[in-house]
Amino acid sequence: MKKIAYKYISLLLVIFLVACSDDVLEKDPIGRFASEDYLTTEEEAELAIIGVYDYLSVGYNNYGDWSSIFFAKVLPGDDVNTGGGSSADQPKLQQLNNFTLEYDNPAITDVWHSFYRIVNSSNNIINKISEDVSIKDHIIAEAKFFRAYAYFELVTMWGDVPYYTELPAGQLTVELPRVSKSDIYGHIESDLQDAIDELPLKSDLPLEEKYRISKGAAQALLGKVHLYQQEYTLAHQAFNQVITSDEYSLTPDYGTIWLKEERAGVETLFEVMYTSQNSHDWGGPWDGTAESNFLVQLMGPRGDDSFNNLDVIGYTNGWGFNVPTKKFGDLLNAEAGAERAITSVISEADFETAGGEVNNPGGNNNWDAYEGYIRLKYCTRPSETGPPVTEVNWSTPFKLIRYADVLLMAAEAYNKDNQDGSAIPLIKEVRERAGFDDHSAWENLTGDNLFEFIVNERSLELAFEGHRFGDLVRWGKAATELSTRGFEVNKHELFPIPKREIDLNPGISIEDQNPGYN
């Protein structure tokens, strides 16, 4: 009996030894959707395009450790100093401002990556969306806008960059050599033209979706793309379509442009949205994926006893980055007009008169970035944030293209195209909103004189918004305005190709680096 029993058991075991099939090794992924049957419905297409918008907000918020696109655009300008806790705070950001950045600068590395994430996610939609999706054309148009936008920023910041519309599947290293700027511009223009053809007017966007990319945004970006290539006729043609569409106007009150109520407002063409309603606490997320704008906290006037009683002017303390230069503080106070000046900066004297206290040097900071002005644009207004931890729930949006910018770019294009007559009324519109009714001093300017006026007006209107450096470079004025800040001609017009890209992309070697950076 015994013998039989154990023989059977032995037999069973032996059977099991070979009985395990391959099926047990097949596992389903958790919470993810297989690509083969995705992007086949309207809902999925909507999700996919929101994924691209999200990349934009992540890139602008900060990609990780405060490497925001916004900082990369604003800090090289002469309108701001980096600031922070001291001149050593966030070296990667300080280096953008004093032109000591090297090709391993983490901020540059991250911003580069941010734009390509927009490129790649847009490509995925364009390449993979099913024919059956009814809103396919609209979604593709939005994706093309984003792709064009990302490539445009890439070529203006880095010059020739890798260009692709599809990556080979299943491959982790792809040879992506630098492509000439002019070729890329061609692709950008064609993408934008496709987008313009399909995108709805802003007025046709449903309520609660006015933040989405409209025809006007694509037209404005196309105009800007031409302007940066000095194709002035094409530029003002594109801008003119925006202007004549009557879809946009200037927000009557300049000081409210950055506030909640003007989100997707009349002046907005292209904007990055954030929310104060997602109830973040100090626990994060700190990697830039928050839906609130962490950057605003960085850009509030420094606390720790440096600036006290900010509540007297309606603000609260932040961490002191993005500090106005005296050059711009003085300029705005002298020429911007009261409305624009007081909502853009406040001088130390005015602040103290209002009951504020400045403690510099002193407090906990030896703060050399401070030159006598506190910036109020993109500043820490308590009404713009939410509980439970107000420091990390800022809703302030970044206005990437607003109507005043469009008007001034159009004016510039007309001026350069010798159509000063068409430029003047556009400038007037901008200045009138700023409170200037008397245009006699400048309305008869022409040619270069009018151009210089436009240059100045852009400073007054768009200070601290991240346009200054790009403008100076394309105007050829960077050397004069920035050389005292460390700018070197034929080097600092462009950022270096990030070290990580050179290390990992077999299509780019150190020899391909931008001049001056290896």
Binding site: L25, G31, P91, S279, E501
Partner: protein
């Protein structure tokens, strides 16, 4: 005659020897080896049926040996085995058989376990010798004073004259004269030669042989006699483990064997430990595979060291290959203790100790700080009336107690054995005191039952519960140690300037108070996140509670002689709950908290392993063949749940989720990880006469985490050995044992795989975007590219070794050379930014080579005066190099302050440090002279180069043991050489953060100064990302100096105790190193950040007292 031509040769015949001592049996039982070894034929249940007419005694003994598991030992010169006898027994016990057999033969016998010693009555011995010679009597005992029966005593010049000790250890021998020399020998004990020198009474204490040639070692799915092992295996014994003061088993291995590096991730109580066997083979997790009683487990931190019988470390591919998967980084096999048949034992171990901070780190004091900062261009004006000079490292540390108890009960009868044990460990932190406490309870039940002649069942079960209060560390921004290193000395621990406190309160914020209501000192100079570390010790609430069950059950069928079929099911169930919350506080705008949030992480890890294997052993003459085939199925699931909510009120009693009305902040999260593995394996072992050994194994593994096309991997291994000392031609007198062995094999690893590399997905996790009304929409993206080519990481290792024993095994020596090539390393490398992906899939990124020499040697002896002494030394060299990187790129690893600091690069050690190399300090300017590596005339980021690596060139350990009568002394040291540490806790973005004292004392002070450190500078990357902050972290640590006393048996036996030993010990007490950071053993949780010191909790020094009692 044929079997034992000379009594002398008994203990030289390694392969014919049997297990004389309970110790040996114990080893077998412990390892669960009985599943494979039929080792328990005891006299009572061995029944013999035999009929022999007129056969020689020798012939009958031979037959009995063949038909039972007994072995006969006798001196042919004393026992007349040629005499003719008859035997007729039917199903009788061995005693009955022997009684009948020896009735007339004048032979006495004694059964010890499975071995039967034949002796002649003393008077018979004497009768064969001339009567007028010198008579010697005496007693032979072991070190414990217990008599040893069966010891062979032979006269040196007359090997025909000898005897064997009786049951009570006594002997009588008559020798030719008072000048004779006697040789005492017994298996497992060192031989002794004694001059009679006219004495008529000679009592002898035999000393256990340091190295038992018949010791068995645990190998994958079985055991092997050490003498026939062909692989590179190191063992750590229970005795060594018992002495450890740290409650973690891993620490016990440190320095004990060659080729094994133990890298604590931190000195904090309960913190993790990493083991690296033969270098860092993988770029990510390179942990070895842990097998506890056959069960694969994720970690061994839940085991009480007292419960462990032995640990085997399988270092080469041949020994690990049977584990195929995950064997690539070596295998640690642990066997826990079990009961012994017929012996009931109660054991209690107690340890109490005090730990104190042990570090070389010294920071600038107030005066030095002021001078340094002012020379660096900063203004340091302490507030009027204040003259604080806080030593923050001193403030955060304290003398912290630790205690450990272990109580075990074991025993068994012929059919069953059991062991029950429980332990308790409580350890406070030398930093953080009870706020860094680790407490652990363990409970174990091991049993084994012989249900039937053909069926054995058993179980091993360990339950542990632990609680750990964790303090933040290994972080350059907010850790406790880091803050203590960075905080300026002008800041007081307790605030005296109440106006500062009032300012914070006026702003509507909450200054932090201690339990006595005092406010913590606020930063005088340092800005940013760095804040009073003392405040955060008391106010960090971050508790991990872990419940872990590791259980396995097995049954072994023995249908025919030599064949064992085992089925074993095991379960590893781990629950980890982490609860954390922070009080409200305000130190600076960057270090504040205005809301009480509670967060819980709940992780359940569930691993089932089912293994079935069969082994068959057959001996034909001198051929000994063992075959093994088996399969294994593993299922792993790990759900995680995350909960977060606001607390209704501050305090740990409110750190739950039901009680707040504020629900907007509520978050839930959760993921699930699951995978399966299937493996088939086989092994064939062969040895001829115990002289020539050959073994081959093959394992085939399938893993669900790999792309379906590359899911299966096959891992072969072969090894061979030659026991030269068994050859007839071997004539080197003093070398008792010499074996050469060689092995080659392959192993796989999938430890670092992110599953589904070949599949493309859209994911919506964390993707949201608000509209103009701040309402969020969900988004989706493809976040990772695919990699269908992804497959097994495979290591290939060649090993050559020699084992040697000399001078009656007093001296042992072994040397191994290995070369281990790990190909297709799995890592999720960062991809080029231009690909625009968010996550990186797993890839096979390159090849790493580790090679080295390993030496282990030991010497153990005793003097006639009873002093026993022993020394063991081990030393290993290590050379680690990345020999190939896919696409000839480089891969960045750890990041410090935004910069990639460790790299995976061809021609360099894995994850070496890269930064600026300096060539002294410019005497004129005080600036570091940076080496222009690429010779382009300027210093740029491309001049960054190799600065060091965390891998030691040399690892070594040494133990010294002395025993005299009841006293024992043990010293153990361990060290590394050639490893570097990168001091990475600096904050160049916070200029006023404190620096180590050498930044001040060694600084350049003016033109012409030939200084080793530059002029004070708080920011320069040429200092803080250069070799100026990379230091040689070679160290020698005296791990233990222990003095023990065993109470005399005569005293304790009166109170019913068997053994009592008390000891005092200094553990980790002395460390010799040039490294000026917290601890040269700078570890990290992150595998690519080894040697990057972000301000770690150092290993503490301990003064210990211990007591061990056996009832």
């Amino acid at each position: 005659m044929k079997k034992n031509p000379q009594m002398w040769a008994w203990d030289c015949h390694a392969f014919k020897k049997i297990y004389l001592r309970m110790r040996m049996i114990l080893v077998l039982l412990l390892i669960g080896a009985s599943q494979l070894w039929a080792s328990d034929s005891f006299s009572q249940d061995t029944k013999v049926t035999m009929t022999k007419d007129n056969a020689t005694v020798a012939h009958i003994l031979d037959e009995l040996e063949q038909n039972t598991n007994f072995t006969f030992l006798y001196n042919q010169e004393l026992i007349d085995s040629d005499q003719i006898v008859s035997l007729n027994v039917n199903n009788q016990t061995i005693e009955e058989v022997l009684d009948q057999l020896f009735e007339s033969a004048g032979i006495n016998y004694r059964i010890i376990d499975q071995q039967i010693i034949l002796t002649t009555p003393a008077n018979l011995v004497n009768a064969t010798i001339q009567q007028d010679k010198f008579k010697v009597t005496g007693m032979v005992t072991d070190e414990m004073g217990d008599p040893i029966p069966g010891v062979t005593i032979v006269e040196e010049d007359n090997i025909m004259n000898g005897t064997i000790t009786a049951v009570d250890g006594t002997y009588i021998i008559t020798v030719q004269s008072g000048d004779a020399i006697l040789n005492f020998s017994f298996v497992g004990y060192q031989k002794q030669q004694i001059q009679v020198a006219g004495r008529s009474t000679i009592n002898i204490t035999l000393v256990e042989e340091a190295f038992d040639m018949d010791e068995v070692v645990v190998v994958g799915y079985g055991v092997q006699k050490k003498s026939v092992v062909t692989a590179a295996i190191s063992s750590v014994k229970a005795e060594e483990l018992e002495k450890v003061s740290n409650g973690r088993v891993e620490h016990a291995i440190q320095g004990r064997t060659a080729g094994v590096a133990v890298l604590p991730t931190s000195g904090a109580p309960g913190a993790g430990v990493k083991i690296r066997i033969r270098g860092t083979g993988s770029n990510g997790n390179s942990n070895p595979l842990y097998i506890v009683d056959g069960m694969k487990t994720g970690g061994i931190d839940d085991l009480d060291p007292n419960d462990i019988a032995s640990m085997e470390i399988l270092k080469d591919a041949a020994s690990a290959a049977i584990y195929g998967t995950e064997g690539a980084n070596g295998v640690v096999l642990i066997s826990t203790k079990s009961g012994k048949k017929g012996k009931t034992q109660i054991q209690y171990n107690f340890q109490y100790g005090v730990q104190t901070l042990s570090t070389n780190a010294e920071m600038m004091n107030a005066a030095q700080y002021k001078t340094f900062m002012e020379e660096a261009g900063e203004t340091v004006t302490p507030p009027a009336g204040e003259n604080y000079d806080t030593d923050w490292l001193d403030e955060i540390s304290e003398a912290a107690p630790m205690q450990r108890h272990n109580l075990s009960f074991s025993g068994g009868n012929d059919k069953s054995t059991y062991l029950l044990s429980g332990s308790y460990l409580k350890q406070d932190g030398a930093i953080g005191g009870e706020d860094a406490r680790f407490e652990r309870f363990t409970f174990r039940i091991n049993t084994k039952h012989e249900m039937k002649k053909w069926l054995e069942v058993g179980n091993n079960l360990n339950f542990s519960h632990s609680k750990r209060d964790a303090l933040p560390e290994d972080d350059e921004y907010r850790s406790i140690v880091n803050s203590a290193l960075l905080m300026d000395p002008y800041t007081p621990v307790i605030e005296s300037d109440m106006s500062r406190i009032q300012d914070i309160i006026d702003e509507g914020n909450t200054p932090l108070q201690n339990s006595k209501g005092q406010y913590y000192g606020l930063n005088r100079f340092v800005t940013g996140e760095t804040s009073n570390p003392v405040a955060f010790i008391e106010n960090t609430n971050d508790t991990y509670k872990t419940d872990k069950l590791l259980a396995s059950f097995y049954g072994t069928l023995k249908p025919i002689e030599g064949l064992n079929i085992t089925s074993r099911a095991g379960l590893e169930l781990t629950y980890v709950t982490r609860n954390r919350w922070s009080p409200k506080y305000y130190f600076s705008s960057e270090r504040s908290n205005s809301t009480n949030i509670v967060e819980d992480d709940i992780d359940k890890y569930y691993k089932v392993l089912w293994e079935n294997f069969a082994s068959y052993n057959k001996k034909i003459n001198n051929h000994d063949i063992t075959g093994l085939v088996g399969m294994s199925y593993e299922e792993y699931t790990h759900p995680n749940y995350y909960l977060k909510s606001q607390m209704p009120k501050q305090g740990s009693q409110y750190a739950y989720h039901d009680y707040s009305v504020e629900k907007n902040t509520n978050r839930v999260g959760g993921t699930l990880e699951e995978n399966t593995k299937v493996s088939y394996f086989g092994r064939l072992s062969y040895n001829y006469a115990g002289k020539y050994m050959l073994e081959a194994s093959l394992r085939r593994d399938g893993a669900s985490v790999l792309p379906s096309d590359n899911r299966w991997g096959t891992f072969p291994a072969v090894s061979g050995g030659w026991l030269l000392s068994e050859e007839d031609f071997w004539s080197v007198e003093n070398i008792d044992y010499l074996k050469v062995r060689a092995s080659w094999g392959q192993n796989g690893s999938i430890l670092n795989v992110t599953p589904f590399a070949d599949k493309e997905f859209w994911t919506s996790e964390g993707i949201m975007y608000p509209n103009e009304s701040e309402v969020l929409s969900q988004g989706a993206r493809i976040e990772s590219p695919t990699n269908s080519a992804m497959g097994w990481e495979r290591s290939e290792q060649t090993n050559i070794g020699i084992d040697l024993r000399a001078f009656s095994s007093k001296l042992t020596f072994s040397v191994d050379y290995y070369k281990k090539i790990t190909k297709d390393l799995i890592f999720n490398p960062m991809l080029q930014g231009s690909m625009g992906v968010y996550e990186y899939p797993s890839d096979n990124i390159g090849t790493v080579e580790n090679q080295g020499w390993e030496f282990e040697t030991g010497y153990r002896n005793s003097t006639s005066g009873g002093l026993k002494y022993g020394v063991t030394l081990n030393l290993s060299t290590l050379k680690n190099e990345v020999t190939y990187v896919r696409n000839n790129t480089t891969v960045a690893g750890a990041n410090v302050r935004g910069y990639d600091m460790t790299w995976f690069e061809q021609g360099q050690p894995i994850w070496y440090f890269k930064g600026y190399k300096t060539n002294g300090i410019d005497e004129a300017t005080g600036e570091p002279i940076v080496v222009d590596v690429n010779n382009d005339g300027e210093i740029t980021a491309s001049d960054q180069t190799y600065l060091g690596d965390p891998h030691p060139d040399l690892l070594y350990g040494a133990t010294f043991n002395l025993e005299y009568k009841n006293l024992d002394f043990n010293m153990f040291m361990q060290g590394m050489a050639g490893n570097e540490v990168f001091m990475a806790w600096f904050r160049t973005d916070r200029k006023l953060t404190n620096k180590p004292k050498f930044f001040y004392t060694d600084r350049w002070t003016g033109p012409g100064d030939n200084a080793s450190m530059p002029k004070p500078d708080n920011e320069s990357d040429y200092i803080y990302r250069s070799d100026l902050v990379v230091q040689d972290a070679s160290y020698l640590r005296i791990k233990q100096i222990q003095l023990g006393y065993t109470l005399p048996k005569s005293i304790i036996s009166k109170v019913g105790l068997e053994r009592v030993r008390a000891y005092v010990s200094l553990d980790d007490y002395f460390t010799f190193t040039k490294y000026e950071g917290m601890d040269p053993e700078a570890g990290s949780d992150e595998d690519n950040r080894q040697g990057i010191d972000k301000g770690l909790y150092p290993t503490t020094k301990k003064v210990m007292f211990g007591l061990s009692v056996n009832f």
